[in-house]
Symmetry: C2
Subunit: 397 residues, 2 copies
Amino acid sequence: MTTRRPIDDPLNAFCAHATAYLSGAAAGPLAGLRFAAKDLFDIVGHVTGAGNPDWLATHAPAVRTAPVVQILVDSGADMVGKTHTDELSRGILGENVHYGTPTNPNARGHVPGGSSSGSAAAVAGGLVDFALGTDTGGSVRIPASFCGIYGMRPSHGRLSLAGVVGQAPSFDTIGWFTRDAGLLARIGEILLGVDLRHAPRPHHLVIASDAFAIAEPATKAALTPAVEALTALVDSSENCPVSQTVPLSEWTAHQRAIQGREAWNTFGEWIDQTNPRLAFDIADNFIRGKQVSDAALVAAREFQAARRVELLRMFAEDTVLCLPTAPFPAPTIGQPRSTMWTQRNAISTLTTISATAGAPQVSLPLGAVDGLPVGLSILGRPGADDTVLALARALAR
Amino acid sequence: MTTRRPIDDPLNAFCAHATAYLSGAAAGPLAGLRFAAKDLFDIVGHVTGAGNPDWLATHAPAVRTAPVVQILVDSGADMVGKTHTDELSRGILGENVHYGTPTNPNARGHVPGGSSSGSAAAVAGGLVDFALGTDTGGSVRIPASFCGIYGMRPSHGRLSLAGVVGQAPSFDTIGWFTRDAGLLARIGEILLGVDLRHAPRPHHLVIASDAFAIAEPATKAALTPAVEALTALVDSSENCPVSQTVPLSEWTAHQRAIQGREAWNTFGEWIDQTNPRLAFDIADNFIRGKQVSDAALVAAREFQAARRVELLRMFAEDTVLCLPTAPFPAPTIGQPRSTMWTQRNAISTLTTISATAGAPQVSLPLGAVDGLPVGLSILGRPGADDTVLALARALAR
């Protein structure tokens, strides 16, 4: 039986309304470790708040704990609290107008990234050993990059979303953060049910030239040594664009159409009934999603399907891809909405690749620009979660 | 020197953040009376909150008191507090998701109407003798009707909007509420600088048949005795539609286009900079306004100008018009957003008439449906504020 230790949270990472605590099993591979879960994960007896006070006020306490949380507790880890999220998971910077912005301990004055903002801050600041987040359009990968920690987005569909507030089913995934690649891999073994000793080793590396071209020059330069080290771990590598026919800049509009429309499907009825308080940009985003026509939705799905075919064709079984997780380090807090929109668009030009492919992606904190972390990502074929985790661990060594 | 008496506010009519108080001049026509001002009016030393906590947080205290408030204080009335408004004055029902809904003392469980919700509730509940509001698209007339009190919207441009948070300059007006027609008229004399003993007497009454046809049958029936009493005060009357060429139901879309676009002009820059918390329906409404094209705006202005010409042609100098203030009594609190939208649309089909014409309109609490107040309105030509106030006073006797 673990003794409950209160969280001292100078980072505004944890939700005040959900002081949930689940003691880990006495014995288990994660015994002695502490973790947190984004406030989208159900914890029995607590209301899941989803980053919006009116969501919190209009929902009942969860009647069971999300299975993915339970697996970790059963493996010995203590669940010590729930962490802030961007409002209804619909943000990428980590600023929540209701609950404030979690502190980025590795880039003070800069956003932590979102929407799994509190989980990333709590891990980066050492408040917990690891944390759960969700990633629909980059919500684990971006805060991992901005906060200088490891973040894993598994293959789409690989982990159960039961007991988790979803957003856009075509892209929703559960992910996790750690400060080291070993623990990132260990949690993957537990959650995914794999043994990384048997993970297929990739032979070929595609360095995504178009993705690197989108990154700011300083970010690209900061990641170059890590790319070279990664190259040394595989038999062959090449510079090659991800986009075979249509530039990445065009991918995002289709991603946004599908994700926006699905997000309205998820939250629209509640919004209509509740008329909740929302940050203006969140409301604006919902309305854009609502306004996506049936024809535009069909066209976007066809576009994504075609891109996915191209991606899978490019990725042989033994191939992985590397790219910058984000085009730049964490922006400063409190940008005007127009700037936020531009930044968001640039970010999603890179994050859309794995969302489009349903592919696993690990972000590794292997660079810095003027002292601000930037992440390098390794992306594998859908299902090759073990390969990318094992490669990330090898690269980190 | 008046002693400051604290407001006991069981109605949630007053803003907790602005316990403003201005003692009235010792002698004056309003000496001994207490009034409140909607939280859009500047009071020196206090931040004007405008119904939104982020507006409150991002603005400095007012450096002077709005002239219209000062006139009343100089006339002897005590300004005892600031009252709740719909968020940024952009609502008609009186529900504010941040500060709650002021209680309608004459229709418990029903909305007070808005956006001058707290002012109407404070007057209806006897907390003050009179109160200031603003009326862009019905924000004095509708709460007057719903709360069973008198409400005056003067001719557009008649009172200075200095020191008042505006919304849509083409329609913004300052108005006031009372529990009796005598005080309504007296305040009109002071603010408008007129002497009602010399007010031109109207000879002809137009009973707006299309407006009454829009009202629910029970509301129409409840107002019939008042219409008959009004008829007895003039030499001649006729049933006649307001809309000569285009039905009233088409007027509202053009009103909404101009008002929405102007409201975005007023608040858009602040919204972009601040990314404030807004109720979803308020954000939605702003975005609709933002999306009004230049061509649609020009077309709407041309449409309104044509309607205004028709209205002025119909109104000879000696003519007034009567109509139901609202199509129904106050709806119950907490309707879903879709219902709110339908109700709002029906309401604005009637309120758009004076907004289109720039005409003065008084709402009188002269009917009830199942115990819920409904108002009868008298509308005059632009500039005939004295005529409608004098006629309202005569009718109330």
